[in-house]
Assembly symmetry: C2
Homo-oligomer: 226 residues x 2
């Protein structure tokens, strides 16, 4: 019985990868660099985007917002005057806990791919399943809040291994929480030694310039930006 | 294709409920009151248990720790001298993002059910899927951290609807985060008007007595405690 279960999962992931490649082909054809942005609930993905996307010079960005329900984050980003498309996963039973390639594919007709250079796909807040489903992205960034504790890389290793950049957020809370940055870095190195990392406070703006520059460099490297 | 997917999910939930009822029967026979404790990653479930379980007078407690990988939380709780059993969901692909009834069932032989009154099942940190899988519990408690933001009841409504008690944690961070308690309560009321709620700081100990008393009353009501 267990063997059957694993096989079903593998088939589902295989189908997902097929669709992810089709998405990636479409993104490449349109010259769009795509980021899959992941984190636990409330780690600050949207606040970071508010800080970064507004002043992103020379890069035309859009956001695909994944949520179980509602459009709170999309509404927040609307004031930035970048195209925002909402994708809700909450049909069926309690809602999917992650975006998959087919969900993203269903949103492609709503996205102005020919008119943008950078697409940020803000995934559902979850440290497990989003890491298992490619959606056609060029890179995966995760936001990790110091309020969540220094043990998270050890407890959710796949997520920390799956990304190319870890943005350590809520630096402003460091004096008020029990979080040892050295220990956290040690844990992060033990699961993903080469991963890039940036320390920020999306709330105060500290360090967010480096995230913006990282995105600009990455998009330029891919040739998405002229 | 979509219709097929929904049917598979319903079948899986139906099978889960059948096993959850079998677990519940075993818990009832042994006179054990069972709590399914849920939250986002890093909301403070384990710290709350450290505060509550040590001084839980007249109630013999045990903990079933659910994690994707590792035994960090179980190790932390070991110093409390209550039985702790670790359940890892990380076999197969990237690890299951929730506990289900069959996983809990597989742990029953390791639990001293005849010698305890209260079993706390600490679920995987996730605000989506754990709410969809009954494991045989009497009640569901969720921990919601003020660091996660006041919008969480609206974004993860099933989780907030599925529980009988919301423990609002990290009160000590209130002066340092943008969190409007009145707004949060309004959001919580809009998705689950009758739910009980307690405000605590597991870090400082503020308010944790009320959680302990809630558990003692609940266990006594069920006849688990003599």
């Amino acid at each position: 019985m267990h063997r059957v279960k694993v096989r079903v999962v593998e088939d589902a992931l295989d189908a997902n990868n097929t669709i992810a490649r089709a998405n990636r082909d479409d993104f490449d054809r349109a010259g769009v660099y795509v980021v899959n942005l992941m984190s636990a609930p409330g780690a600050g993905k949207t606040t970071l985007l508010e800080r970064v996307l507004g002043p992103l010079e020379g890069v035309r960005a859009a956001v695909l917002e994944g949520d179980v329900q509602g459009s709170l984050d999309a509404d927040r980003l609307a004031s930035l005057h970048v195209p925002v498309v909402q994708l809700n996963t909450g049909n069926g039973f309690g809602g999917e806990c992650h975006l998959d390639a087919n969900m993203v594919r269903s949103a492609l007709p709503s996205l102005p791919l020919e008119d943008i250079d950078l697409l940020i796909i803000e995934n559902v807040g979850n440290l497990v399943c989003p890491a298992e489903f490619r959606v056609g992205e060029d890179t995966r960034i995760m936001v990790s809040s110091v309020a969540e504790g220094e043990d998270k890389p050890l407890k959710y290793p796949l997520m920390f291994r799956a990304c190319e950049l870890v943005v350590i957020n809520k630096l402003d809370l460091l004096p008020h929480v029990d979080f040892d940055m050295d220990k956290y870095m040690h844990h992060l190195d033990s699961v993903h030694p080469d991963v890039e990392r940036l320390q920020v406070s999306a709330r105060t703006g500290e360090g967010v310039d480096a995230v913006r520059e990282w995105l600009q460099r990455a998009a330029a490297r891919e040739g998405a930006v002229a």
